[in-house]
């Protein structure tokens, strides 16, 4: 029997630097191995090995190190970080490191999964192509979500991203099918009231008993946030690919996650790239986001909706920037729309759904969908350009055409983008509103729409026919 099996606890911590412990005189330690750090008053905190030599290990600690001193004990478990998985996770609420918060006993299962998961072989991926109707026009009409997509919400503090995420979770359906989404919700550093908002929302609609909530809140240990989204994705992957369920994962707020990663990097004195974030932020985020998707020959799916607040509303900030480089589009909420009373305050122009093309059209939504969406983009872009011009030359300085687009943009925001928090529009309703708006423009201007679709869907011809 080796020493470690006997439960040897090292008392050889040489240095504590922020969330890092440097341990000497260790033996037989594995890279990425889980450790339990035991404080003098018997409390246990999780950690894992970041760097290991023959007699030395560097450990990142997922809990508070503030009260620790060099007398803490370090127990190497010989395992990588795993969680038990079973269908009994559904309906439960856990902490950010998977401790029950709902007063029920910890889940027991013989089946355990490494929270880092595996990488889905690109050759085994199925192309996501089933349109999800969220009932929100700005999404369904112009940035359609499909099952297995990863589509984040980029927001700012104070904007109603939680309301929007909850609305999507409530309303998301595949038209013509009865399958419901189960929800895996992970919070990283958000406020109690925000988490409570989601819990109540899920409860109200009965979604709570098909959801799993994993909560690291604002006053929970920041470094724990590194494992929270990975636990969530592990649960989601299990439910989707072992139990054939359709899962919607909501991760909020990814900016807090990235800050936790940054603090480790700073403590390790790594060379930062932008705003103190390490160069591997991209790859690290990818190991979380890329776990969404569909697999050939498997029924289930993981659809991912991360939420992040852009510091200073800056979309070029590393967290939204690198997220946008990984996810399949982004939905962007903007303060000026919010201030004008538009809900959801979504700016469709910089928003994008990359997987929309495979999810829409004949047999999925409607054959005119892609063209209508394109035309809306073009017209709204013209309108916002005209709006910029008004500030300088006044409305009188606009040509008649510009004035028309200006009016289009206003109506587009008020009638198409704007809707109720509990308003659930079908895709037909969404497209009909779009046509109604587009009919303000002269027909020759609708050059992004095929003539035959104009003849079929333009209100002018529909009324006549």
């Amino acid at each position: 029997m080796s020493l470690r099996e006997a439960g040897l606890v090292y008392k050889t911590v040489r240095e504590i630097r922020g969330p890092l412990l440097f341990v000497e005189k260790v033996r037989d330690v594995a890279y990425d191995e889980v450790v339990r750090v035991i404080t003098p008053d018997g409390e246990e905190v999780l950690g894992s090995v970041l760097d290991v030599s023959r007699d030395y290990a560097l450990i990142q600690v997922y809990g508070e190190t503030g009260g620790m001193d060099l007398n803490v004990g370090v127990h190497f478990t010989g395992e990588t970080l795993k969680i038990p998985v079973s269908d009994e996770l559904i309906g439960r609420i856990f902490s950010g490191s998977m401790k029950p918060l709902d007063g029920m006993p910890p889940p027991i299962s013989t089946d355990e999964r490494d929270i880092h998961g595996g990488v889905i072989n690109p050759a085994a991926r199925a192309v996501p192509s089933e349109f999800i109707q969220t009932g929100v026009s700005a999404i369904d009409g112009m940035n359609s979500l499909v099952r297995g997509q990863k589509l984040p919400i980029f927001s700012e503090s104070g904007l109603p991203h939680n309301q929007l995420a909850a609305q999507i979770a409530r309303q998301a359906t595949i038209p013509g099918r009865e399958e419901e989404f189960a929800i895996v919700f992970a919070a990283m550093g958000i406020k109690h009231e925000e988490a409570e908002f989601f819990r109540r929302e899920f409860e109200k609609t009965g979604a709570l008993n098909r959801s799993v909530m994993i909560l690291n809140l604002a006053d929970d240990p920041p470094i724990e946030r590194l494992i929270t989204p990975r636990i969530a994705q592990t649960v989601a992957e299990y439910l989707a690919f072992d139990l054939d369920m359709h899962i919607l994962v909501i991760l909020t707020d990814m900016t807090n996650y990235a800050e936790a990663l940054r603090s480790i990097s700073i403590a390790r004195e790594e060379i930062p790239t932008r705003k103190g974030y390490p160069g591997y932020l991209y790859s690290d985020l990818a190991t979380i986001y890329e776990r969404a998707g569909k697999i050939k020959g498997k029924k289930g799916s993981v659809t991912l909706m991360p939420i992040l607040t852009m510091p200073g509303g800056d979309i070029t900030h590393p967290v939204p920037d690198l997220t946008g480089y990984i996810t399949e589009g982004q939905l962007i909420l903007q303060r000026d729309l919010f201030l004008r009373g538009i809900y959801p305050p979504m700016n469709v122009l910089p928003s994008l759904s990359r997987l929309m093309k495979d999810g829409i059209g004949e047999g999925r939504t409607r054959k005119d969908h892609a063209d209508v969406s394109n035309q809306l983009y073009m017209a709204y872009a013209e309108g916002t350009r005209a709006r910029g011009l008004v500030r300088i030359v006044g409305v009188v300085g606009l040509s008649e055409r510009e004035r028309r687009y200006l009016e289009f943009a206003d109506r587009f925001e008020r009638e198409f983008v704007n809707q109720g928090i509990y308003e659930n529009r079908t895709i037909e309703q969404t497209l009909d509103i779009a046509w109604d708006l587009l009919s303000m423009l002269p027909e020759e201007e609708l050059i992004r729409i095929r003539r035959e679709y104009i003849k079929e869907f333009h209100p002018k011809y529909r009324r006549a026919g």
Binding site: D28, A30, Y31, D32, D51, V52, R54, T80, H116, G117, V119, I120, N121, P122, A123, A124, V127, G148, Q149, F241, E270, I271, T273, G279, Y280, Y282, S283, A286, Y289, E290, R291, I295, K296, T316, H317, P318, D321, L322, Y325, I326, E328, G329, Q330, K357, D358, A370, N374, A381, G388, L389, I392, V393, G397, L398, S399, E402, E444, I447, R448, R450
Partner: protein, 587 residues
């Protein structure tokens, strides 16, 4: 005997091992009990720094390391076409079959299938003298693609034996006696170190454009066969779609598509859609001429670094068979970041933004491998490698190191523009910031469609440039306050944008536009300009011109099949213009 070592330290993908004797830098090693793949990237006496191509979780100091004695090589031979490999050439199709849909560590997969038999048809005879690069036979690898079996670059001698028939890649198809009298078995497969450019006889000047079927590229910013192009842009501006479009429609014989640190679903998209699409020139499925290297963003960063070298080596191999090959590298920024990651772990002194000082050299090294060459071999054969690299600048800022260094080594630059992407002007290639150094080359080629191609292109570009200046003014005083001549320029520019530059990758007709149609479309718009300009000068208001029905029709005619509708439109344009002129009593 294989050199042995022991792991001393593990820091993510970096493993330090101590060997019995000094090993060789660049050698491939088997790391730990699982025998993970790695490469020696730095030596310090008997201590080797190893970049491990697989996740090192659970590995311990003290575990063994074995030096395989060879560098990272690519296997080259039948079985490449239509396959999908990771950065170190493990077939992901095979991996899926063996271990299920999740990638597993330590799985050994020979890059080329060892069981599959190919029909080998010899092209040389016993007693013939051959040198490296000579074609000794062919294999019809796909219905469309003929794989030419080469004598490996450094071999030469006399064919002692050669026989046609069904063989696996690893079975001898014949023997060769070298000048030293040594007998060497010939196989359909050989290997080549990925980091070493494959030799050729001579570089040729670039004389032919790669026709991509994408108007803004072919007409305004062409790339030559054997040239290099870069397409930088923030996320969502259209890098990937453009590279996929080129892979689908370019007149290359072989496409190497490298997904380097990008999305898994994009690879699934290629794997799913390429077998459905047909090449407009050959009528064969696109997958039959495509090799995919997919080392996506959540796969090990170190194998991502290798993936670009693998892709380019595959390209050179097909070039050596006498083919025109186009390499898509999406994205070179992720490759550079992989290099940065490793450099950081090695604690090298960084230059800009954490990138190592040798970043520029490495980028140059990749683009240097593009070219049009006379291949090795006794017979004169020409092949080319065109490299097109996506660049993903942080925050969409082109002043960052990867973009600026890349600019120095490429001949065509397709600058993507966020504003254009926002208004769904795709491809969002900004016509003012992009350039091509291959215009002269292209102009000779285009003459067969339009003798005055250069002038046509230049005039259109001039209108676009003028329009952007006029727009600056319009932003201050409003378009209404501009003179009609200037408003005409704005109108024509709009027609060029809508009717020519914008090309929807998902439109069943317009996704590909052949050269003849490109010329005719642009000429139609310029002819319209020439027809109405005199009317403006004679005082006919711009509003009347804009209101002509034909204006929006011209902007749509690209969506019609073939060139006849363009000729029809020209007639219609003449009719409408002359009737308007008539109304004002203008000749």
């Amino acid at each position: 005997m294989a050199l042995k070592g022991v792991i001393e330290r593990i820091n993510g993908s970096l493993v330090v091992a101590r060997f019995e004797e000094e090993p060789r830098i660049g050698d491939l090693v088997e790391v730990g009990k699982l025998g993970l793949m790695g490469e020696i990237v730095r030596l310090s006496g008997r201590n080797a720094f190893i970049q491990c191509y697989e996740v090192t979780s659970g590995m311990k100091p003290g575990e063994p390391v074995i030096d395989t004695g060879t560098p990272l090589v690519a296997e080259l031979g039948p079985g490449l076409m239509g396959n999908i490999f990771d950065g170190v050439e493990r077939s992901e199709l095979e991996m899926w079959r063996m271990v299920g849909p999740f990638i597993k560590r330590g799985v050994r997969i020979a890059p080329l299938n060892r069981d599959k038999k190919w029909y080998f048809e010899p092209k040389v005879e016993k007693g013939e003298k051959v040198v490296g690069g000579d074609i000794i036979g062919v294999v019809q690898e796909t219905e469309y693609f003929q794989h030419r079996i080469l004598i490996p670059p450094h071999l030469k001698g006399e064919i002692v034996e050669i026989e046609g028939g069904e063989y696996t890649v690893n079975e001898p198809i014949g023997t060769l006696k070298t000048d030293e009298g040594e007998e060497v078995e010939l196989k359909m497969m050989h290997t080549w170190p990925v980091r070493m450019p494959r030799p050729y006889k001579e570089r040729l000047p670039l004389t032919i454009p790669l026709i991509t079927g994408q108007r803004v590229i072919d007409t305004f910013f062409p790339v030559a066969k054997g040239g290099a192009a870069a397409i930088p842009g923030g996320f969502g501006t259209g890098k990937t779609v453009t590279l996929q479009q080129i892979s689908k429609w370019a007149d290359a014989d072989v496409i190497i598509y490298i997904g380097c640190g990008e999305r898994g679903n994009e690879m699934a998209d290629v794997v799913t859609h390429f077998p459905e699409l047909t090449d407009p020139r050959t009528g064969r499925k696109l997958i039959e001429r495509t090799v995919i290297v997919a080392n996506v963003s959540n796969m090990p960063v170190s194998a991502r670094e290798a993936s670009i070298y693998l892709g380019v080596t595959l390209a050179e191999y097909f070039r050596d068979q006498g083919y025109d090959v186009a390499v898509m590298a999406d994205s070179t920024s992720r490759w550079a970041e992989a290099m940065r990651d490793l450099s950081g772990r090695l604690e090298e002194i960084p230059a800009e933004r954490g990138f190592p000082a040798y970043l520029a050299d490495r980028i140059a090294g990749i683009y240097e491998r593009a070219g049009r060459v006379v291949t090795l071999g006794s017979e004169r054969r020409v092949g080319s490698v065109t490299i097109i690299g996506a660049v993903s600048p942080p925050g969409g800022d082109f002043s960052e190191p990867v973009t600026t260094h890349t600019l120095r080594f490429i001949g065509a630059f397709w600058a993507l523009d966020t504003e254009l992407a926002f208004r769904r002007h795709f491809p969002a290639i900004n016509w003012l910031r992009s350039f091509s150094r291959y215009i002269e080359v292209a102009s000779v080629w285009w003459e067969k469609y339009e003798p005055r191609w250069m002038q046509l292109r230049a005039r259109a570009l001039k209108i676009l440039e003028d329009a952007s200046e006029i727009e600056e003014t319009a932003r201050i005083i409003g378009e209404k306050a501009l003179p009609d001549e200037q408003r005409l320029t704005l109108l024509i520019a709009e027609m060029i944008r809508e009717g020519f530059l914008i090309q929807n990758a998902f439109h069943e007709v317009d996704r590909y536009c052949d050269p003849e149609k490109q010329v005719k479309l642009l000429k139609l718009i310029m002819d319209f300009h020439d027809a109405v300009e005199p009317l403006i000068r004679r005082g006919i208001p711009i509003e009347r011109i804009r209101a002509l029905k034909v204006v929006s029709e011209i902007m749509r005619v690209k969506e019609e099949k073939g060139v006849e509708p363009i000729e029809e439109m020209r007639k219609r344009m003449r009719r409408e213009v002359s009737s308007l002129a008539g109304e004002y009593g203008v000749e």
